[in-house]
Symmetry: C2
Amino acid sequence: MPHGNPITLTPVAVIRTPFRDRIETPHQPVVSADPSPEPEMAQPGPRAPVLATIEFAEWVPPESLQDLEGFDRVWLIYHLHRSEGWRARVKPPRGPRRARGLFATRSPHRPNPIGLSCVRLVSVDAPGRRVVVADVDLLDGTPILDLKPYVPYADAFPDARAGWVDEVDAAVGRLTAPGPKRPVRARAREVPEI
Amino acid sequence: MPHGNPITLTPVAVIRTPFRDRIETPHQPVVSADPSPEPEMAQPGPRAPVLATIEFAEWVPPESLQDLEGFDRVWLIYHLHRSEGWRARVKPPRGPRRARGLFATRSPHRPNPIGLSCVRLVSVDAPGRRVVVADVDLLDGTPILDLKPYVPYADAFPDARAGWVDEVDAAVGRLTAPGPKRPVRARAREVPEI
């Protein structure tokens, strides 16, 4: 087995979010917005952030959540539990619908359905084993495999070139600018997947 | 099972790096440097980057690696295969050796031993199923579970506060500034874990 044996992981937590269906779930945390208002009531412009609660399993000691409060952001690594199979090339829903190599995309349909999202930390209730976060793009009930603090010196590279994503942005305008926008339900078809 | 069933993952690749032992492996990619020179020959200042090769399994179609070239950086999500158990609180090797809650650290000893590193993309040989990267902090032979493109709008938050890490930096000087430094072997005890 030159590439390693299969490994088995047990989720440490589950996340509760307002997103019940894939179609209304944003494709990256920074473009998320609360989906509760009806589409016809949607107003353009900034909206209330989407709050979500991470509920840790009872076997996770509360002490393991200490010292988290001071971080602005955390990484969530999670099981894309609704992913069904994968293909070598995928058509991300942005710009010209050209197929791209799977590993050059953030498509949820991957050999190992692991998701990675940087979310905003809102509050930590260590004794209650609950962590509230904002700017989420996770489906309700998603199993969480790990949570790590966001550390800019290791994680933030704002000037990194992003290949075909940059090209599409340059060609069609900056679709991917950060910040909550219109409610997801109203613009699900416009939200870039990557 | 309110927190999700166990999931089984099969590595998609293995990485070949110059780091054979944990003690000589940097604790974050941005502080890595080639360990080959003997410590007594170590010179301060920038050094050659550490190159590593990701070898994908034969069942991974070469087309899945297309379109990667244009990205400066990629995320590696991997199995910390030498991790042995975990504790709720750990003492990161930086600043005053105070115990911190596990989930507020990037310690490799976690309930699910999953590592996350942002590395520099050097070259892609899709037909050969090989990807060369630099600035790695992975042990030789580490099983790779996923590779995702680094996309600044979703991943880069240079101004995010980093809690106790910021506090330690402020108290003892900026230990964690990016960039290769002295050879790892000579300074393993000084390299911050987080």
